[in-house]
């Protein structure tokens, strides 16, 4: 097997004396989707912020392997290098699309900004990619010059995904990508994300409290409780035959329609 895309080792993050993540290690391989599930306050969002370079952990390391085989230690690297990585190789999908979009400018500019940030300076080409990506996330091209304020919640989330994927990243972090949307919109969005991730051979880390999201998107999952990983394994295996008491509780507490 290839070298892991992302190698997390011994990651610990304390807020003062409160531990949020405790000694977490895992590896993510190219093209693999891993889900991190757990209840509110279990440390999953803190973990995501640390491994995506937005927050420095108290201890531990995150190593990223570039397409050319070079390895960057995320927190030993300069901030310039880290931000460059976030622009070029990574994407981050926020739970609330308003955090991930620039609400003051049009949808086209939102997609275009990612391209302009990596040096694209040809209006016609930027516009064409923006149109292409709008159609790939099932938004009518005629809405390209509209403000994201005029979009529905589901459309905003799809726009945010387009903005993240237009630069063809290798790794995408998603924080509750379907949170706050109604179920029918959720299903469509999940379908879309699954298709895009498979077609683009993206690796992804998906944080969610929704086991259905984990089952649909991920091949592997990690269950967190109180800042620790209590169970990890293939998604189907963990959901069908949960070993840890907490995971059993989690699986049993899913409402059956």
């Amino acid at each position: 097997m290839n070298a892991p895309l992302l190698q997390v080792s011994g990651l610990t993050k304390n807020y003062g004396s409160t531990p949020a993540c405790n000694d977490i290690s895992f590896a993510l391989h190219p093209g693999e989707v891993i889900a991190i599930v757990g209840e509110s306050g279990s440390g999953k969002s803190t973990l995501l912020r640390c491994i995506s370079g937005q927050m420095e952990p108290s201890s531990g390391a995150v190593a990223y392997t570039h397409a050319d085989g070079r390895v960057t230690d995320l927190f030993a690297a300069s901030e310039a290098e880290r931000r460059n990585l976030m622009r070029k190789d990574w994407g981050f999908v926020h739970q609330d699309a308003r955090d991930g979009l620039r609400m003051g400018v049009s949808a086209g500019a939102n997609i275009g900004e990612s391209l302009m940030a990596v040096g694209s300076r040809h209006y016609g080409k930027i516009r064409a990619s923006a149109e292409d990506w709008l159609s790939r996330v099932e938004i009518a091209a005629s809405r390209i010059d509209d403000s994201p304020w005029s979009y529905s919640g589901g459309m905003r989330q799809r726009l945010q995904i387009a903005r993240n994927l237009v630069t063809a990243p290798r790794l995408v972090f998603m924080d509750e990508p379907t949170g706050g949307l109604d179920v029918s919109v959720q299903a469509r969005l999940l379908d879309l994300i699954r298709g895009l991730v498979r077609n683009m051979k993206l690796a992804a880390v998906v944080v969610t409290h929704d086991l259905a999201v984990a089952r649909l998107l991920s091949s592997r999952m990690m269950v967190m409780q109180n800042g620790r990983v209590v169970e990890t394994g293939l998604t189907d295996q963990v959901l069908e035959d949960p070993q840890a008491p907490y995971t059993q509780l989690l699986v049993a507490s899913v409402l059956q329609a």
């Binding site: 901030e79 310039a80 931000r83 622009r87 620039r102 003051g104 400018v105 049009s106 086209g108 500019a109 275009g112 900004e113 302009m116 940030a117 990596v118 040096g119 300076r121 040809h122 209006y123 016609g124 930027i126 516009r127 390209i144 010059d145």
Partner: protein
Amino acid sequence: MSGPAYNFAYLNEQTKKMVRRAILKAVAIPGYQVPFASRELPMPYGWGTGGVQVTAAILTPDDTLKVIDQGADDTTNAVSIRSFFSKVAGVETTEDTDSASIIQTRHRIPETPLREDQILVYQVPIPEPLRFLEPRETETRKMHALEEYGIMHVKLYEDIAQHGEIATSYAYPAKVNGRYVFDPSPIPKFDNPKLDNSPALQLFGAGREKRIYAVPPYTAVKSLDFEDHPFSVSGWDKPCAICGSTTSYLDEVVIDDQGGRMFVCSDTDYCKKRRPA
């Protein structure tokens, strides 16, 4: 009480020294916004307090000062600042671009080409070109430091998407010396080409925002654009109604209540000299 009521050029020597230090740093790093301890002045923010402090710091008794506002020498702001300096510094003032050694300006660069022995001082309201899209100062500083300027093009993209062309017509962002993107104050983009490779030293002072920046003489200033929408300036169909100039920046003036209009040079000194005697 004896002696003059004010120190030369109003500001005390310590303050002028502080402003000069900021200016030196600004000249050393073209386009970089240097923070400085902006002082209270006997005029409100928005009247050019940044420009006045820069002018006060570089003024010598031998200087000849010209002040323009929207290109004109005879508007309230220009007249007030000129009389301010003739009162507190006793320097000679002029309306003639050629005989001025320091020109403080708001909104225009004179039509008459500037020389190496002249300094142009701009009054700047908002020095940060990235402010339109990024309200956080900590973030914009980081963006300048790391040369993350992709966001500047988002504004230009929006212009083309909404108006079919780059509709930004003043405060048009430009890159200085291939490094810092800066806001050349609210001059019309018509004047942007004059920033490039100018023989005169250009100093920018923002009083309320407490920033000074500079374009040293003979420094490259490139206006931002797209490959397929290159930077261009618009012209006028008609020449100046007074002097007949076809190359200067024209103001539209309403002349009656019947919808009558005329277009005249905004640079009053230039227009006056060209007028047939």
